[in-house]
Amino acid sequence: MNAFTVRAVNMTVRGRVMLLYMIHTHVSLRVQCVIHVPSAFGCTVQLFNKLTHVFFSLQDCTFFTRKEILRLHGRYHELAPHLVPMDYTKEPDCNVPLALIVNMPELKENPFRNRIVESFSEDGMGNLSFNEFVDMFSVLSEMAPRELKAIYAFKIYDFNVDNYLCKEDLEKTLNRLTKEELTPEEVELVCEKAIEEADLDGDSKLSFADFENMISRAPDFLSTFHIRI
């Protein structure tokens, strides 16, 4: 990719404009470009190959097509151009911190944005590698099955990461949902009712089994737990 970039910059003004546009929009577009001018850039073909090869396994591991993964990579790169190299062939070990990710327009308004990112990061602090980044949007994509979504939803709502949704978690959830506009008594009542409804084993907190049982019957869980990217 880098080789291509350099050459393109040296080429023409139009090429430069094009390149800028491409950088700011989609990686996939650039790849298309490479395909159309194979003779001029012999090496780029191979780079393209390598790049896509890396993404092929991602394609099998996620619900995205190659094109979407390339676009995601563009988005990922956009988040932190100084941290993330454009060239993904070597699978560089880079992490984008939470603060940058939650500013994505897709997540910016979400009251659970920090939790979402934290749930998908391996270190639990919200630093996402590209793989995890793709994983996040894969789970939140339209294609992901209900069971998978349920697992991650559980993790997202589990604020204190103890694998139970206890009252404290529910209170936090509720306060984020309502911007703390309910009175404490109302919050109390709602949390109690929610636990009472979904708790099957009577331990006054929701285990994953309880949660899954509840969420699997929810009519609009699939349609709401879903981010289009």
């Binding site: 191979q46 309910l182 009577g202």
Partner: protein, 991 residues
Amino acid sequence: MPRKSEVLQMDDVGIEVDEDLSDSDDGAPQRRGNRRPAAGRGGAKGRGRGKKPASEDEEDEEEDEAPRGRRGANRKKPAKKRGGKDDDDEDESEDEAPKRKRGGAANKRRGGKAQDSDEEDSDDGKGKKGKKGGGKKGGKEEESKGKKGDAKGKDKGKDKGKDKEDDKDKKKKKKKKDDSSSSSNSDSDEEEESMSEGEMGRLMEEVEEKKKLITTIRNKPWRMKRRLTHLREAQQFVDKFEGALGKGKGRKWYAYKVMMTKKWIKFQRDFENFRTACIPWERKIKDVESHFGSSVASYFIFLRWMYGMNLVLFGFTFGLVVIPEVLMGLPYGSIPRKTVPKADQPTAQDYSVLMDFNGYCKYSVLFYGFYNDQRTIGLLKFRLPLSYLMVGIGSFGYSLMVVIRTMAKNADVGGGDGEEGEFTFAWKMFTSWDYLIGNSETADNKYASITTSFKESIVDEQENQKDENIHLRRFLRVMANFMILCSLGGSGYLIYFVVKRSQEFANRTDLSWYEKNELELIMSLLGLVCPPLFETIAELEDYHPRIALKWQLGRIFALFLGNLYTFLFALFDEVNNKLAQEDSIRNASLWALKEYHANMTRLINDSSITPPPMDPGDVIRGPCWETAVGIEFVKLTVSDIQVTYLTILIGDFARAVIVRFLNYCWCWDLEAGFPSYGEFDISGNVLGLVFNQGMIWMGAFYAPGLVGINVLRLLSSMYYQCWAVMATNVPHERVFKASKSNNFYMGLLLLILFLSLLPVVYTIMTLPPSFDCGPFSGKPKMFDVIMETIDLDLPAFLGTLFSYAANPGLIIPAVLLMVLAIYYLNSVSEAYMNSNMELKKKMQMARDEEKNRRNNTDSTNQVMKDLEDLLPSGSPAALVPPPQPENPPELEARPTRTKPGRGVNLQKDVTLASPNPNAQRPVSRPPGPRGAGPGPGPGPGPGRGRGQRGPPEITTWGNPRPRQDVFTPKTVSVSSFQENVFEDDAPSGLY
């Protein structure tokens, strides 16, 4: 082992490349797609990568060990199994080798040229497309195969967790890799025949398992890294051994089908999106809903629905009646009915006259009288009178159909999610946020609407919990109803009185403004005063707001109904007067005509009849009662619009302005105190809308323009009221949820529709139309136009057919049949309802049972383990890297136990669990029986899991209850637990 075989693996990769090419030749592009890069790079690159899988394997192993020790123990077993089942494995390796050979040989044959071509077409778009389609198809196929393989696996007794299977596969595969690569170097072609069916089958099964893993890997809640390594391994395995297995035919067709299905689904989704995008005012209503709750929004949804229906009515009326008349009918001033009479002409353009819909308005397409009775008009021979009647009846038919259909649909929706009460709060909490929201304004609205919906649910909940003095409540309710009945009776009498008086006034001419408009004034006043009065009285009843709204609606409906029928009776009196008047005029004009003809024949001696040479404005004409009725309805509608809009402007807007700005200089707090801001009056607005619609239905036949006026009204009131409610009103004190279906509104509408149908049909069927105006003039009855059409335009046999169909002998049986059908359907629906109840009961029972079962077993173990695996590695649980696989996991898992938010129950568990680390050690690595174990024996899944994970798992994941049930006495618990674990492991040891 993998480390040892690095060199061999390099060879492997080389072969892999060849095989890959053969695949591509076979027309299985998806596999090529997966491996293409490797192939493209050729052997040299492959060598470079050859090392990688090995190291990755290692990495993977470590990672697997990290989360749980169980896996570590697991891993031992396959190894041992391998040792134990040496001969078996050898067989396997032997039969794998030939296959590889075969594939390799085949590849070599085509190898050379394929390599080049592959490199080339890897870049062009066509190749990519093929790969894409192929990939999808392959996925499906693999899935189905995978299922098969799964079934087989179960037959063989491999009913362990899926993870274990994967692990085992991995081991086997690795070993095979080694074996096969070595043997492929040494073995010769003759072994090709030695492969037996069973071995082939086994291999196939394994490949299918791998394929299944590849297709389902994206569904696994694993960390990406783990997923990737698993995938890579599985792919390598499949690549290697798949060549030996046959490939299906007809893939292209299948791929095409899959592709088309996907496209079709996408199209459907897009279409659905488009359709929802076409629904107007969605955002406006969402806006209102988010601030005022679903009950207020339900009014606006109802309004929108009405608008849609009226738009269709408008389309019919204007498209089939008004526009043809304008375009093709005679122009204004050509005949008497289309001309303002001479006497009225000086004032016909005055504003006050026009506002009363007299003058030019009266003689326009807006009203019935303007239409001519020509049988056909224009070049197209459009049968206007017939079309007029059909549209009149058709609008009723359409409205009835739409209302009833909507009601049925609503009822269906209401019945669909009858279980809603079960998880109200939990669902609200976990599914109400729409993750798609990316706009801050929308997000704010969503916050507001979620808050409102929680408040609604809280109101409902509190209502359920209310403890009440039932006797007092009953007394109050009876009293309230009594008072309301009294006021209803009073208002009824008042209307009756006023109507009597107005009939007296009708004969007088010296009337003041008040006396002229007394009836309308009284009715408007009643409409203004009574609803708040009812609302005040309803406070006594203390119903839930939703139910109170229904009562309120019913009561005001009764009041309005009285008004409506009073109005109708007054109108009928007028019509009868006009009819009598018309009779005399007709006789007079007929007589004048006869005289004129007599004179003409006498003077000119010409028998040809020519119309009298008169200006159309001079002709004597009847009162045309239809137009009079139409004017009444239009006037009523317009005044209703004015009153409604003024009420909003004064009652809400002016009040809000005063409260808002006078509050700075007032003695008390206006906002919190007496006048305050207005609440949105749902019942009044809904009923206003319903009655307005009733007016439209009744009047549309006599004033086709009324539908157009109504459409304008609904359109403007949508914007006006949306603005008013957002700008001037405050949410209800107790925001309540609208009932699930709008069927109450619809029911009111249906009732009104029926009530307005009656007078119109009555007039059409019984009253004679005016002799000199309207499309039916000159006919004894309006519906004669149909008879005429049947006689003149349709073939004769159809006429006889109709006459038979109209025979009472046929109609009575038909009615009987319908009654019987209704009876039958009714009983069937009752039966369904009963069975529905029964099923609900059963479901409840099943749920209870499930609850019990959950308490006693640990069936959800697997998922939970995966979930636990997802805990961030930064958390204490994962920070401790397990140095050795046999290290019991309690060290890692324990910190999670100390998290806050534990119940008392758990404390018990901890005490139960704490002795167990000591107890577990011997169990987790049993020296004797375990060592002999050939592999992860088919022990009962949950039991095994429990045994190996040890107590920390219990505290973290298991349900405390069951454990308590099993080991109630604390002192015995340790030993019993140990025993339990041992028993669970025993089968595997005995293997």
